[in-house]
Amino acid sequence: MSAPTKGSGTTWVGRSIRRLEDPALVQGRGHFTADLAAAHWARFVRSPVASGRIERIKSPPNASVFTGIDLQGVKPIKPMLFKFNYVPVGQPILPHDVVRFVGEPVAAAVAPSKEEAEDLADLVEIEITQLTPVTDGRRALSAGAPAVHAEAPSNVVVEGRVKTPNFDETYASAHTRIKFEALSRRQNATPMEARAGHAAYDMASGRTTLTCTTQMPHVTRTGIADLLGMPESDLRVIAPDVGGGFGQKTALTPEYVVLVWLARHLRSSVAWTEDRRENLMAGFHSRDQVIQLEGAFDKDAKLIALSADIVANVGAYSTFPTTCGVEPLMAMAELPGPYDVRAYACVSRGVVTNTCPMAPYRGVSRPVITFALERLMDKAAASFGIDPIEIRRRNLIDRFPYTSAMGLVFDEASYRQTLEIAVKEVDLPAFRVRQKAARAAGRFLGIGFATFSERTGYGSPAFAARGMEITPGWETVELTMDPSGLVEVRIGSSPHGQGLRTTLAQIIADEIGLEPSQIRVVHGDTDRTPYGWGTFASRSLVISGGACLIAARKMRTKLLKLASHLLEASAADIVLEEGAARVSGTDRSISIATMARQAYYQTHRFNGEIEPGMTETGSYDPAGTFSNACHVATVEVDIETGHVTIEKFLVAEDAGRIINPMIADGQVHGGIAQGIGNALLEEIIYSGEGDILTSTLADYLPPTSHEVPEIELHHMETTSDASITKAKGVGEGGAIGAPAAILNAINDALTPFGVEIDEIPATPRKIRAALRGATEKRA
């Protein structure tokens, strides 16, 4: 099945062409890490306790079991920040003295098959003296709480503080102040493919190849090479097809370090495929935050000052490369959201506990801060007796570029317009009529709005502001036309479901007059691609796409130069389209394939005026751009059971120029489904002793097709100069807005009872607990 052909006068950009990735995937012909055969399998023996001192690790005599004693020369994972009172704490690759969370890998059992490795692991006994754990972020801050790391006696490992000079005066002048606590429980990103790695040592070259399910192959290479003290070029990291990541697969897992060490030690191949229980216990967690939020409003319900105290429970260690600062510092920088508020004060702390370490997860903190801020706006609207729409109208940014109280520059966007589209399309007046009738019949419907900004496509300046030792941001691509006229693009980004092979090909195709199917995007292999930062933070289409545009423009210039020589015409008169260079207004043309052959095989004809070969590079490192959206949820709350049904979900969103509408919609759909899980279902729960109680997918509940209603999407395409392709990022917005809209809808439904739910997920148990004792106030 071929891609549709391009009509005359149209562009590839902006069209819903089918994905180039799909034919292999629908036939089961993809290549995933766990598909590789290995000489050895590893099974990790994990700590059964949340806090303890390892006294002895006993394994059968002569068994192939490796512990921290064997790995003593390997450095701990200890990423650095140079700001925000950061206390570096190290994660031993395999600890041999202290364990700090249930599920922490302590030993690796190695055997010829998975089953035998599991048998061997079962025979390993870890003698541990249990210590008192602390699992709750706020309790870890209290006096007398056990210190998870001796270096951080208060358990605070990162602390951001900001207060605008006008804060006290503005705050004091307020007409109304509203203060509350927003609580977000812990989530696991739950990609359908859990972690897997396969390390193979090559006797001939002395190099090791690690194939693993990562979003960041180059950074994984850097991390492991540094920890093992080996040159980066001795390690090749391949990310083949990756079964989802959502941020979880940005973090360097100690298990991969062990695999590379084992492959080098055994001079052989070693594989590990984690099971779902391991992933839920130790595959990184996110969003465990408490926000004390206070909004100060003037008499017209204009938000004039905002203050927040944020506690992010970052787990036992600081993950590489983003560090444990990623959640608390993102929350602090972006909490004011899309609102014009000039006075801001915030304390945001990252706190270590005896729980699984935190890694970025789709939206990083923004689902939480958006939920908190949007609850604030609804509470304020109620306090002023105005409509939730009206309070947003009065407070949203509407002039651009806008520099926030935190110094972030917001480029052109459509905060007000997307709100108005959403209000119109959802038909709010009709909903209110229906809601009233339902209430009279003892049914409780609610509607909730969330307006938000999504900072996307930001390059190194944004990361440098956090003071990161490893400062990500830019992307480089290499674009080569082979002598047949087909193009290979090697990128440092590392897509894992986003369809980037298709969208990047669309961008390049328009510049050089080829079809997307003639452009092959190569990614996920450190031997084949230029250094890059991988795919996360809604960045790849903007930054890698921008780099592709830059390289493709260079290729275009070269093709025009070649055509100019070969057609004896001025480059200004030549157009590249449908696989050929044509002289406008004539029937003279030459195919791109012919020109490509000439560029390699007939270089003598160009009198030294054209460099041999057909390779161009492009690099892009933008400051960043803001996508935006308004999400609307309508729900019904069953007062007897606390069950919430989402009737309808509507989105008016703006991610600038849309390269492939089908793919952009898919990103929004997927984000919203994860947001629904975040709002209603998904919660990692620890017992007081630090045991994890949600270690299967029967306890930890990602939504099924039953919980995700039909999603109605409306688009705007506001462009700005912040992105050279005019595309803004679209990967995270769905997840950012959905919890806020759903919680506002639940609270709207519960208005007659005078109770408020400011906690996600809003499970039936929590809703019933709030309703117990409340009585309905009949309108």
């Binding site: 995937l25 089953e115 359908m192 990756v242 079964g243 779902r276 229980r277 479901g497 919609d665 029967a698």
Partner: protein
């Protein structure tokens, strides 16, 4: 526990004579002993459905079955869906409607719905939604999977 049993699995019309431990799951046997890696393992406890294959006409979670239990019955995996270069209507519909992103859960959804549509070609749109709730997808929010399956069902009914 390393005693192995000799069994023959018939996968996609081809016999695979293999020697496996009795405890080896059907999913592991299909992937590792028979080399059919299109079937993916997502949870190994029967919730996610990524490993769904068709055993004797029924969609089953191959992680919850031992390989030895599948001896003598026909097993179909995602590799069997296309005939040569001609894709199954479900495969085409998943591409057409963007019913997949990372593609890890996709073989499970395809095999689930292949079995269901063969058994119940006139299944209602509502019942399709119910059946799809058997499997988990983390990328698509199900919107386009639902569209794809409904479109494929309609197309299969029409031909």
């Amino acid at each position: 526990m390393t005693g192995k049993v000799d069994i023959t699995l018939n996968i996609n019309g081809r016999d695979h004579a293999i020697s496996v431990e009795p405890r080896r799951t059907l999913a592991d046997a299909i992937r590792e002993n028979c080399g059919q890696t299109g079937t993916h393992i997502g949870c190994e406890h029967g919730i996610c459905g990524a490993c769904t294959v068709i055993v004797d006409g029924d969609p089953v979670r191959s992680c919850l079955m031992f390989a030895a239990q599948a001896e003598g019955v026909p097993i179909r995996t995602v590799e069997s869906l296309a005939s040569g270069d001609t894709l199954h209507p479900l495969q085409r519909a998943f591409m057409e409607h963007h019913g997949l992103q990372c593609g890890f859960c996709t073989p499970g959804f395809l095999m689930l719905m292949t079995a269901v549509l063969e058994r119940e070609p006139d299944i209602s749109d509502e019942d399709i939604l119910d059946v799809l709730a058997s499997n988990l997808c983390r990328c698509t929010g199900y919107q386009n999977i639902v569209k794809a399956v409904r479109a494929a069902a309609a197309e299969m009914r029409a031909t």
